[in-house]
Amino acid sequence: MTPRDHDLADESPAVAENEAVNRREFLSECLKACQLAAPVLLGVIRVPLLEAQESESGGYDPAEHLYGMGIDVSKCIGCGQCVAACKSENDVPLDSRHFNTWVERYVIGDNHVVDVDSPNGGMDGFPPVATEGGIRRAFFVPKLCNHCASAPCVQVCPVGATFTTDDGAILVDDEYCIGCRYCIQACPYGARWLHPEKHVAAKCTFCYHRLVQGLVPACVEVCPTGARVFGEVERRSTPLARFMRFNDIQVLKPHLNTKPKVYYANLDGEVR
């Protein structure tokens, strides 16, 4: 009992005092318990996201994984948290011309006119829709590097500075890239950019530095609606596998045969 509770007890009738103390005590203990259990609970939630990080030998073995991302378009609310998280996690310049991930807003009017925008990559959210007439459909589409299994950027890199890791991520070797920008031209998704200070190609890495520590990419971690799902592509009991079992899955620009590993659910045909 705290001194303040003693004071209360002195001033109140016995029955009321017991009830009050019990309720207060109960709530306060609950809060304390939550405080203590939060890290443990969050840990429990996180573990199934990226399971089996440790290989049998102890260290992280990329050959044991194949990663991909699922995006449920119907869940994205266009808050831009993912864009902001990505920028701060990966040292992406804070200007409006360089993004590893961004969010596009599609507004399809009753007149079938498709209006797409992505102000500042969607990082600060979106202004109110300015269309005349009714809206037929409207939705947000998060975009990022598709980490294609047949990546055109990897094919065209003259020195092999862009490469595919064993666990399926497409990365750029900063120390090796000559800055010819052929990969930027070859990417059908506009996912690559030239780093203005390092003068090398840059792109989404699936937060590779986090993957190897058993963490999910920053954009997945901060998404408040769970629109982004990350995990193993080929294992059956993972969130991504579940996502792909229970949704109709599409990829972007399938006719280019790049075999993307970013899988969209509830994707509209207008999205390119």
Partner: protein, 407 residues
């Protein structure tokens, strides 16, 4: 900006220097193919421009990698293309194609062609010229009939290898663009072929310009049979080139794929001046009409009989217009492919810089440099017919120095 572009597309990643690169490489390939006309196909009329065409090709080839180098984010890492090339990459082959063309084709051909003259010049000369020419013989000063026959045969074989190599050099540059499936403006199987024929057009036109201006500066008459023949070849090459471009255009329009809407917008707005006005009207239709009406080499009775002086002017004007047209083709390919969004929903703009590594001044310097190199080459290796040294009379003593005329 107009419509929607992906946020990463605000910046155009390939600028003016990448326009210069295929333009210069095209001139190399074209000039070489022109030179091979005389050597392999025995077109005697163009003989006065044979050596000039080879030297032009060399001067431009030496400059060809510079725009690429200046454009790289890390030029000092460029050697990695040779050391650890990614064999799947079209661009990785550039170094090898370039080295093959420079070392095996151009330098060897020029050396075999000039060797006899180099030896005779050095024997006749004094001062620095003597030593430069001696060094260029690489010590091979044998002028026996057998060795001269070998020179000729070797030169001929190198030209025969050189023609497909020139095709490879520029067809390959076309492939770098044509194989980018992400870009509907570039992705076309016709791209290497169009590049090749536009290269031939630009090379012939360039040699025609240089030949005429050099004749003027040297106060020598222009060989009109040669000029007429060059004009005729220019006309033929342009007919093929424009036909291929039209085929590409009609094919795209008829297929009318997903990208046709944005590409139509692109041509109607961003590329109207450079494509419709410069490339098609000024760069193709007007020169084709001028040449077609006046060149006596096209038919025995040209539609308009024009006096030599006027014809020379018409040829020169046509060839300059053709250069503008071909530069516009390169611009339209390289810039056109980046001015629309790969979302196919919007257009962006190119902001030309004046200064800086990729600016206008740098570009102009790079375009002027080949002419400086050519001037030096012409001083060291005069390509004019009258500069060719005569062999000593048969039976003349070895000590007797043959007579040679130098400009």
């Amino acid at each position: 900006m107009q419509g929607f572009i992906y946020p990463n597309e605000f910046e155009l990643y390939w600028g003016l220097l990448i326009v210069v690169y295929p333009y210069v490489t095209g001139l190399v390939a074209g000039a070489f193919i022109l030179a091979s006309l005389e050597r392999v196909f025995n077109v005697k009329e163009v003989q006065p421009t044979y050596r000039l065409a080879l030297l032009t090709a060399l001067a431009f080839l030496l400059v060809a990698p510079l725009p690429l180098l200046a454009h790289l984010g890390h030029p000092f890492r460029s050697y990695e293309i040779f050391l650890t090339p990614n064999r799947q990459s079209a661009m990785a082959m550039f170094g090898f194609v370039y080295a093959w063309y420079l070392m095996v084709v151009l330098l060897l051909e020029i050396w075999f062609d000039y060797r006899k003259d180099l030896v005779l010049w050095y024997r006749n000369e004094t001062g620095w010229r003597r030593w430069v020419h001696y060094a260029l013989t690489l010590g091979a000063t044998d002028l026996s009939e057998k060795s001269l026959r070998f020179d000729d045969r070797a030169g001929r074989w190198i030209t025969i290898i050189g023609i497909p190599s020139a095709f490879l050099l520029h067809g390959y540059v076309g492939f770098i663009f044509g194989s980018v499936k992400a870009n509907p403006w570039w992705s076309s199987v016709l791209m290497p072929v169009v590049f090749l024929f536009s290269a031939i057009v630009s090379g012939i036109a360039l040699v025609l310009i240089i030949y005429m201006i050099a004749s003027m500066l040297r106060w020598k008459p222009v060989d009109m049979r040669c000029a007429d023949k060059l004009a005729a070849f220019l006309f033929y090459a342009m007919v093929v080139d424009v036909s291929l471009e039209m085929l590409d255009f009609i094919h795209r329009l008829y297929e009318s794929e997903e990208s046709i809407g944005i590409l139509t917008q692109l041509i109607e707005s961003r590329l109207f001046i450079s494509l419709v006005v410069l490339q098609l009207a000024l760069g193709a239709l007007i020169p084709l009409t001028l040449l077609g009406l006046t060149s006596p080499a096209l038919s025995k009775e040209p539609i308009f009989k024009v006096p030599d002086e006027l014809r020379r002017l018409i040829y020169l004007a046509s060839a300059i217009l053709v250069q503008i047209g071909i530069f516009s083709i390169r611009w339209n390919v390289v810039m056109g492919g980046q001015l629309f969004s790969k979302s196919l929903r919007g257009l962006t703009v190119y902001r030309l810089e004046l200064f800086g590594l990729e600016g206008l001044l740098m570009t102009m310097a790079l375009l002027a440099l080949p002419f400086v190199i050519l001037w030096v080459l012409v001083k060291v290796l005069p390509p004019w017919p009258e500069a060719e040294a005569e062999l000593p009379e048969p039976g003349a003593g070895a000590d007797e120095l043959p007579s040679a005329t130098l400009p």
